[in-house]
Amino acid sequence: MKNVKIFLVFVFAAITLASNAQNNAGLKLPAGFKATLFADTIGSARHIAITPNGVLFAKLMYPNKAGKSIIRLEDKNKDGVADNITGWGKYGGTGIFVKGKSLYATSDNDIYLYQLNEKDEVIDTAKPKTIVKGLLAKNQHASKSITLDGQGNIYVNIGAYSNACQEKDRMPGSKGMMPCPILDSAGGIWKFDGIKENQVYGDGKRYATGLRNVVGLDWNKQTNSLFVMQHGRDQLNSFYPTLYTDAQNAELPAETMYELHEGDNAGWPYVYFDPYQKKKMLSPEYGGDGKKEGGENAINPTVFFPAHMAPNALLFYTGNQFPEKYKNGAFIAFHGSWNRAPLPQEGYFVAFVPFKDGKPNGEWEIFANGFSGLTGDEKVKNPRNAKARPCGLAQGPDGSLYVSDDNKGSIFKISYSK
């Protein structure tokens, strides 16, 4: 009896795997690309990172049902599906990053460092080193994403705990504060030493400012500079119905990619980027009317995308598996919008922007779609109906691209073969 059961389980597993491979785990991809469901229901998987040996680590927003908040996934038999899944950690968070045998993970306040052994197992899951502690985390934009440069420095976003730095956040008619006091401790990217323990604000440096909230960021090895994706502001129509219609709010402001250098200012909260006028517009909280420009000292975006799509991961592709066009280009995981309501939502896909010599080289395009689980071209109307929401990206040692989902906790593996 037990054997029959095991046999049945095996048959089911084989059928799921087969159909999984056939329908690309439900994803729509360009010709020649295939996807497998590398893992599912592991928990709210935010960012992911992969070691040179192909071991994947996922950071969960909350501990999963088993009480673990960092998950280690290994595909020992190399069939595109993780077969050895373990986990540890009790703190929720977003950021995770691998450098050599160092594994960094973040809570909303702290950055921790774990040591890996030669099999990429964590040597002591109970005692990470605390690299940075006490970063600000209020009830908005609290997640901390991280990346490292080639010099051993770590970059972390500290999101603004506000929509537009109003005196009273999200209160109709409340003015924008001048200067915005939030920018002293948030609304930017901070730089810390990647190894020194127990650093606090004073040990770090505000690397760039005027960024409302960044979740996706990556160090571009070609330009040797930091690129980030900003989440643009919400609710222009709710607070200024005479200046912005629902339809205009659905398209304003653009979601923006910036290349950052030390000292840069991207303009939040004083300005937002209008994708139609292709200009930095003065925010209505600071006297703007949809026509007045602003932000003379603020940098311009490198690329801009439709509004509110919530870019949660950025990855410059350095692998050799994908066709030439993808080399050094940017993949962006769009978590999917909510602030376009009452109009249909957008995002819930992975986009691609070709780059050449460190600069965008062509229009952005949808690379992987279908995460929402809706059929055909049906758009997500209500965010809770989206089956999966892309949140993290990682590049495997063989050049495959992994995408994590923080809704049900799926990890998709996307590969290319001629």
Binding site: S44, M61, Y62, N139, Q140, A142, S162, N163, K168, D169, R170, M171, P172, Q235, N237, S238, W338, N339, A341, P342, K381, N382, P383, R384, N385, R389, D406, N407
Partner: protein, 132 residues
């Protein structure tokens, strides 16, 4: 005994029928669409991890009217744990709402989607405000 219950029950229903009309519910729907839908969405489902769902929320269909009135009028920005999930974002305050507006929108969200709670009268909103 049962008769009395039924009697009281029908009085209650009659009472609401007198005080909360279909027109009030329509007004509540209109308020919802212009002031709440952007965050809580057309299906009342909210946005996972961010804007709390109103559909199926044990708080929304619950009896703590004072809390619901306070949240709608004054906004809310504390992380809330609801039915096993966490939500954190700042909810816009609605200082311009009259008691009747609050009653209408509450009636609407308590009886829409899968919610099947009682409607709320203006008098109940006033009583809830005085309770704290």
């Amino acid at each position: 005994m049962n008769y009395i219950k039924i009697l009281i029950g029908s009085f209650l229903i009659l009472g609401f029928a007198v005080n909360v009309t279909a027109q009030d519910l329509a007004k509540g729907k209109k308020i919802y669409e212009t002031r709440c839908l952007v965050c809580h969405q057309a299906d009342g489902g909210g946005v996972p991890n961010m804007n709390a769902p109103l559909d199926g929320s044990s708080n929304v269909v619950g009896n703590d009217l004072a809390r619901l009135v306070r949240i709608i009028k004054g906004g809310y920005s504390e992380k809330i744990a609801l039915d096993g999930m966490y939500y954190s974002n700042a909810m816009t305050a609605n200082p311009d709402f009259k008691d009747a507006d609050i009653a209408n929108v509450l009636s609407y969200i308590r009886t829409s989607w899968s919610n099947k709670a009682t409607v709320v009268t203006e008098a109940q909103v006033i009583a809830a405000k005085n309770k704290k």
